[in-house]
């Protein structure tokens, strides 16, 4: 479960908070679209939820763990339970695709044999297995995005966050990805997908979090607060 109570986010060196008065609850195993115009705060909210920044004020619970004042080891353990597909993919260019995707499992101390099996299974499913030993920088945007998706899915996270995960994918791949998200939700994963793609939202209707000017749009979010 994700719970925010009057949370604000103010990055260092920025005068005004980029998020403010955020209060929302998302039960475990549910799906939300994260919508809003550019600059509304979608990426900032995702950064907050991936524990890439600490709230300036308010209370935030992730997977029933209070984040405010949590120790570094608690935050580290929480991060291992969150999968994230960033808009800019955030792959390590010096490592090959296999090592990038294997990282979440290695951090959990899994055996290399298991890791090899699981990594190739997910790369196969996303049609990037032939590039397992290539560097991400040699791949196309769509292939890099699929590698980033593979890395987010490989650990079977309890929370999956994705920032425009289909913008470099073909329609058929986007539909397969949404089907995968549905499978994860069925297994109890909370999934939040930020997108500008109205067609995608129309094809898969679901509750949404609408942001405007760094806060929840009061007219669009009555049901989720």
């Amino acid at each position: 479960m994700i719970r925010l109570r009057d949370v604000s986010l103010k990055p260092a060196g920025v005068g005004q908070p980029v998020l403010h008065g955020m209060t929302l609850t998302i039960p475990q195993g549910e799906f939300r679209w994260l919508l809003g115009p550019s600059g509304a705060g979608k990426s900032s909210l995702l950064k907050l939820l991936t524990l890439g920044a600490k709230p300036a004020s308010g209370q935030m619970d992730i997977l029933n763990t209070p984040v405010t004042g949590a120790s570094r080891s608690t935050l580290r353990n929480l991060r291992r339970r969150i999968g994230f597909v960033p808009q800019d993919y955030r792959l390590i260019g010096e490592w090959n695709v296999f090592d990038n995707v294997a990282l979440p499992l290695r951090l959990r101390g899994r055996s290399e044999r298991d890791i090899r099996q699981e990594v190739f299974a997910v790369l196969d499913w996303l049609d990037v297995a032939p590039h397992a030993h290539s560097r991400p920088t040699t791949l196309s945007g769509g292939e890099q995005q699929r590698v980033a998706i593979a890395r987010a899915l490989i650990g079977r996270p309890d929370i999956l966050l994705a920032d425009e995960p289909t913008n470099a994918l073909e329609d058929s791949q986007a539909r397969r990805l949404l089907a995968t998200f549905q499978e994860l939700i069925d297994l109890g994963t909370t999934v939040i997908v930020a997108t500008h793609n109205e067609g995608l939202v129309r094809d898969a209707p679901a509750p949404s979090i609408m942001l405007r000017d760094g806060t929840l749009d009061p007219h669009a979010n009555e049901a989720i607060a």
Binding site: T50, L51, G52, A53, K54, R72, S73, L75, R76, N77, L78, R79, R80, F84, R90, L91, I92, G93, E94, W95, F98, D99, A102, L103, P104, R106, L107, E112, R116, R151
Partner: protein
């Protein structure tokens, strides 16, 4: 397949830096050993010598001098006694009094004292024996010089240690700067790994392990660079260690290396051998500290 969980350390210059630092530290340690040996030798020599001056214009000077020489020879702790000849005394005083035109007549208007040089152990009671036997004699213990030399030796040893400590400090600083630059250059990769749940210690240990390995390699390279200087020092020291033959500065066999190096004190060889390990340890500790501090900026 490598088990990658964190970016490593990017640095081609670290082994070179550590090699140069090891070379400097090795030179300082060799210097330290030499200075220590020299200071000990000076102090030992100065502590065990005394000069006795006996005026020659006192009654029965010759007989009483012989009596004193006899008493001193019988004194426990006196290891050697030498009476300087008149010529020798004149030679010693020549810089102040000038050379007489006729050596047999001495300097006009001056009666030169008889001078005894006594080598003794520190516990020999020289003063009271001389006072009892010939009160007019003046005993000049070189102990005071011994103390001065001891202080000088201690200061030199202190300076040598200071050089070793400074070299270690510069090594730590160099490693710290190198690691800091490497982490900054890989900031994005470190942030990604951190965001996926890598612990601070996991990241820092990975980088520190690499820093330790590179430092160790640099340390070994530094020892190799130091070898010609070490063997050269050994061949220089050989005459002082009563070696029958002077060993080769550049031996070609393993036995030859051992023959050359064993002239050096074992403690110095041990210290030199420990340098790569110390370099690796400093590299590991410094990298851990730098990376852990850097990671504190991440949430």
């Amino acid at each position: 397949m490598s088990r990658r969980v964190s970016p490593g350390l990017r640095s081609g210059s670290l082994p070179l830096l550590v090699a140069l630092m090891t070379l400097l530290a090795g030179l300082a340690l060799a210097g330290l050993t030499g200075v220590q040996a020299l200071a000990d030798g000076w102090a030992q020599a100065a502590r065990s010598a005394a000069t006795i001056e006996i005026p020659t214009d006192i009654p029965n000077a010759s007989d009483r001098t012989d009596a004193l020489i006899h008493a001193l020879k019988a004194l426990p702790g006196v290891t050697n006694l030498q009476k300087l000849s008149t010529d020798k005394v004149q030679d010693l005083l020549a810089p102040w009094l000038g050379q007489p035109t006729d050596a047999r007549k001495g300097l006009p208007g001056l009666s030169l004292p008889t001078v005894l040089i006594v080598a003794h152990t520190p516990d020999a009671n020289l003063g009271s024996t001389v006072h009892d036997t010939l009160p007019e004699a003046i005993v000049q213990e070189d102990m005071q010089w011994g103390q001065r030399l001891e202080h000088l030796g201690t200061s030199l040893v202190g300076c040598a240690w200071l050089a070793v400590v400074l070299i270690a400090a510069i090594a730590v600083l160099s490693i710290g700067i190198t690691v800091r630059r490497s982490v900054a250059a890989q900031k994005r990769a470190v942030e990604i790994v951190h965001s996926l749940g890598a612990g601070d210690f996991t990241i820092s240990s990975h980088i520190a392990g690499r820093a330790a390995l590179l430092s160790f390699m640099g340390g070994v390279a530094g020892l190799v660079l130091l070898t010609p200087l070490t063997t050269s020092l050994a061949t220089t020291l050989a005459p002082f260690t009563h070696q029958a033959t002077v060993p080769s500065t550049f031996p070609t066999t393993l036995d030859g290396w051992w023959t050359t190096l064993r002239i050096l004190p074992l403690s110095l060889l041990k210290e030199l051998g420990a340098l790569p390990v110390i370099a690796a340890l400093l590299g590991w500790i410094t990298a851990q500290g730098v990376v852990l501090v850097w990671l504190r900026r991440l949430p």
